[in-house]
């Protein structure tokens, strides 16, 4: 007979260092060497001859010798990242390793993007190694520098980002936030315009854009590690309303920046349409957890309603109503369809519901394609929808206010920013309301929610109804902005894209859908060289996101646990069954 007494075994968390542990004593040296290599790489030539499509941007060719220290473009970014790494390595700051690692990845991205582009466009390694006896090892040296930075940073151990507790006076914090959002605005404008519009005249725009993205990403990773971004985020959380107003103003100020061209206004307006729709979908999928694979139909319904009420020649209804009224009608009609599509949720759940929504989406597309009731124009679409007008001013015209001359499309941009803001406001309020909590409860466990007295049926239909209304709203805008409404814009692939926007951004979060839609629409615009591979990359991206970051870019705090992979499924049964008292007695006899 023994009594076993034992303390619970406690697993001690070892600082994870892995294979790089041997390098730990040399971290500082490695970081400085990496920084220096990056600087050297920036000042070396990157191409050995002028490429067929013209000189590689920022004088990366041999011509650079004519102006050796006039670094600009990606070489300037390398210089900045390299210097910053050296400074961080020498100065005592917290979370050094993480900061330098961010910078290092930025350097790697820049050197790979530019090196690859020069190689591919120049027709082989000769473009960056040797030609006519001249070597251009800039890309290699910078790449090695970046790798050394990352290795040096990781070997010293990666601390979590620093947490700043500093609190300042209200006015000071407001000023800081104002500056921060102004910087964000300029950064967005710079990212959008970097490399300019792609095309035959500007063959390297994709490279410049990707390289810039790498530089910005590296810098942001470093700043995040330093704790600055977290500090500002908490500050904006403290001044919520102020932040929202400033952010809205910043969005409205985009036309005043370098991105204020007709082209970018159009792209931004399209992003806005899909962002608003994606927010609606986010209610259905992200909050209520009901997968909808035919969601773009509601955008289409909104668009066709608006087209028919616009006075366009092809419309059968033939009445013209003022735009605000059209917006409301489109939203209401789409909402009604949403309720219809949502009604099977009373009986159908999970995967089967996804199929039902897909079926509704297909029915919509087929019907629209066949010009059902003459309402959709069929394959001719409904063309010549007049632009929105207000006080006699067409929204497609350019605007001149005093000396300020704004391109056409600006008014649509302003309108869609306001619409998206309104939709975000609706979403934010819903999420934190009684209804939102009911949706989340249904998402987590429908049976439990019902057991707690939530009337799940109507509430699920309400999710579809509200989501569809938001999409219909966006659809009405879409029809007027585009000038045509065609079934081609509302196919299954668009539904998948919307779903991808929601997932990429982060399900159930307010900025998630906007962020996701922006990424999914900006990238194809900027990378037109790859237009042929766009869908292929999109499909692969879906697979990779689900594998490596299913929670999206901005994970929802609630949702995080749910989408994290489980190590083992919990047991189906409670650990042990009920005690059988009678059995004990009987067995004893």
């Amino acid at each position: 007979m023994t009594t076993i007494e034992k303390a619970p075994s406690q697993a001690l968390a070892e600082p994870p260092r892995g294979r790089l542990a041997a390098l730990a004593p040399y971290t500082s040296v490695l970081r400085i060497v990496g920084g220096v290599l990056t600087l050297v790489g920036a000042f070396l030539p990157w191409a050995t001859f002028v490429l067929n499509d013209g000189p590689y941007p920022e004088g990366a060719t041999l011509e650079f010798f004519s102006e050796p220290f006039g670094v600009s473009g990606f070489r300037l970014h390398l210089v900045l990242l390299g210097l910053a790494s050296i400074v961080v390595a020498l100065v005592p700051v917290a979370a050094k390793g993480r900061i330098v690692r961010g910078f290092g990845w930025g350097v790697i991205a820049i050197s790979i993007v530019n090196g690859l582009y020069i190689t591919v466009e120049g027709g082989g390694f000769g473009a960056i190694t040797a030609s006519d006896g001249t070597a251009a090892f800039g890309a290699f040296v910078a790449l090695v520098g970046g790798v050394v930075l990352v290795v040096g940073a990781t070997a010293g151990g990666i601390d979590p980002p620093t947490h700043w507790d500093l609190k300042l006076g209200r006015v000071v914090e407001w000023l800081i936030l104002l500056v921060a959002y102004a910087i964000v605005l300029l950064l967005v404008a710079a990212v959008l315009t970097s490399g300019g519009q792609g095309g035959a005249a500007n063959p390297f725009s994709g490279a410049v854009f990707l390289s810039f993205l790498g530089a910005v990403g590296g810098a942001i990773a470093g700043l995040h590690a330093s704790g600055l971004l977290g500090w500002i985020a908490r500050m904006s959380e403290r001044h919520r309303i102020y932040s929202v107003i400033v952010l809205l103003l910043a969005a409205l100020a985009l036309p005043l920046t370098s991105a204020g061209t007709e082209y970018w206004m159009t792209v931004a307006a399209n992003i806005g349409v899909y962002a608003a729709t994606a927010i609606g979908l986010n209610i259905v999928v992200g909050l209520a957890g009901l997968l909808d694979l035919g969601y773009v139909a509601f955008l289409g319904i909104g668009a066709f309603v608006a087209a028919n009420l616009s006075g366009a020649a092809a419309s059968v209804v033939g009445i013209e109503l003022p735009f605000p009224l059209v917006l409301v009608i489109a939203a209401v009609v789409a909402g009604c369809f949403g309720a219809v599509v949502g009604s099977p949720t009373l009986r159908v759940r999970g995967d089967y519901l996804a199929i039902v929504t897909l079926a509704f989406g297909e029915i919509f597309v087929r019907s629209a394609q066949n010009n059902i009731g003459g309402l959709t124009g069929g394959s001719n679409s409904i063309p010549n929808i007049p632009p929105v007008e207000l006080f006699g001013k067409g929204f497609n015209e350019s605007v001149t206010i005093g000396a300020l001359n704004l391109p056409s499309g600006v008014l649509y941009y302003v309108l869609i920013v306001l619409i998206v803001a309104a939709v975000m406001w609706v979403f934010g309020n819903l999420k934190n309301s009684r209804l939102g909590r009911a949706w989340i409860a249904i998402r987590e466990d429908e049976d439990a929610a019902r057991a707690m007295g939530i009337r799940t049926g109507p509430i699920k239909i309400l999710a579809f109804l509200i989501g569809a209304m938001l999409a219909g709203f966006a659809g009405a805008f879409f029809a007027h902005k585009l000038g045509t409404a065609s079934y081609e814009s509302f196919r299954f692939l668009e539904s998948v894209t919307l779903l991808a926007a929601v997932i990429l951004g982060g399900m159930g979060t307010i900025p998630g859908a906007v962020l996701g839609a922006s990424v999914l629409f900006v990238l194809p615009e900027k990378l037109r060289e790859f237009a042929d591979y766009r869908l292929l990359l999109f499909g692969l991206a879906l697979v990779l996101i689900m594998r490596f970051r299913p929670q999206g870019l901005v994970p929802d705090a609630h949702r995080r646990a749910e989408l994290a992979p489980e190590s083992e499924a919990p047991p189906d049964h409670p650990d042990d069954g009920p005690a059988g008292g009678t059995t004990v007695k009987a067995a004893a006899t």
């Binding site: 297909e362 499909g539 299913p550």
Partner: protein, 310 residues
């Protein structure tokens, strides 16, 4: 007219057999890992292209001209390509998500579906448009005179129906009688206990994907032979039909998938002939049927209620 009706029924049965063949893959995969594998339609499409590629680029002319040489070779090529693709996608896309929440594999399957379609569109020469498919069976049509008209039956259609039914029967025997089939059923009923029986679920799941792909690849070749050309959209379109068929028959049920497929084929051809709107709306009627079935009898014709996932 009777001959029209009979012709449409023949069309419906041919299409229905094909859809049933694809539906078997959906129903087995769903039965075992509860995943709607949207990419399964693409597996069918890839099989057709794989066979076409072999015919165009590998077969010498004298074999191309003899259907009894070409047909088996094409069937094998289609099956091999489809099985290869399906096994690879199970291994690299779905297996890592085995314990992930259900949404993740579903969206992954959408991604795989898009990617497969695009791989063919971008890399297969000429795939941006429909490509003619070689005639791989006795060409010609058997015509039956009925009253005032004729009912044409293509020989390749007869081949499709016969092969589909034979394969479905063989699959049913395999699942019901063989040791591996028993392991498949066990894994679909209770994966943990199946492991306790010494069954390796990963192997069973990969086998399930492979079997479904085998049928789909063969289906792809027969599709090409019957419809005489293929394009990259055939996978998604027929895939959706096949999924509908699987649900209609009761998901997880082999007989159900075949019956469901025949029902879908008949609905499409008869609705296209007789319903208002004509063939432009045949598609719509299938989805209407799908919705009605899912709402009112989600377990399908043959599904057992206990098997239905609420």
């Amino acid at each position: 007219m009777l001959s029209t009706l009979l012709s449409q029924i023949v069309n419906g049965l041919v299409l229905g057999s094909l859809i049933g063949l694809i539906a078997l893959g959906y129903t087995m995969v769903y039965g075992i890992i509860q995943l709607i594998n949207f990419a399964h339609g693409e597996v069918f499409m890839v099989g057709a292209y794989g066979a076409l590629a072999m015919f165009t680029y590998l077969l010498p002319t004298f074999i191309q001209q003899q259907w009894y040489f070409a047909l088996p070779l094409l069937l094998i090529a289609g099956a091999v390509v489809s099985v290869g693709v399906a096994v690879a996608m199970e291994r690299f896309a779905y297996r890592p998500l085995r314990n992930a929440p259900k949404l993740a594999p579903l969206i992954t399957s959408l991604g795989v579906s898009i990617a497969l379609q695009e791989v063919i569109r971008v890399f297969y020469p000429g795939a941006t448009a429909a490509i003619p498919f070689p005639n791989i069976f006795i060409p010609g049509t058997w015509t039956i005179s009925v009253g005032d008209g004729v009912v044409p039956i293509k020989y390749s259609g007869i081949l499709l129906v016969v092969v589909a039914l034979v394969l479905a029967y063989a699959l049913n025997m395999f699942v019901e009688r063989s040791r591996m089939g028993r392991a498949m059923r066990a894994t679909s009923q209770d994966r943990d206990v199946a492991r306790l029986m010494g069954i390796n679920p990963d192997r069973v799941i990969v086998l399930t994907f492979a079997l479904g792909a085998l049928l789909a690849g063969i289906g792809g070749v027969l599709y090409g032979g019957f419809y005489t050309n293929i394009n990259i959209d055939i996978g998604f379109q027929n895939g959706i039909f096949a999924f509908t068929a699987a649900v209609l028959g009761g998901i997880g049920n082999i007989r159900g998938a075949v019956v469901g497929g025949l029902a879908i084929g008949l609905i499409k051809s008869l609705a296209g002939q007789y319903m208002p709107g004509g063939s432009a709306y045949d598609y719509v009627w299938i989805f209407v049927v799908l919705i009605v079935v899912l709402v009112f009898r989600p377990q399908g014709f043959f599904g057992e209620t206990e098997r239905v996932r609420a």
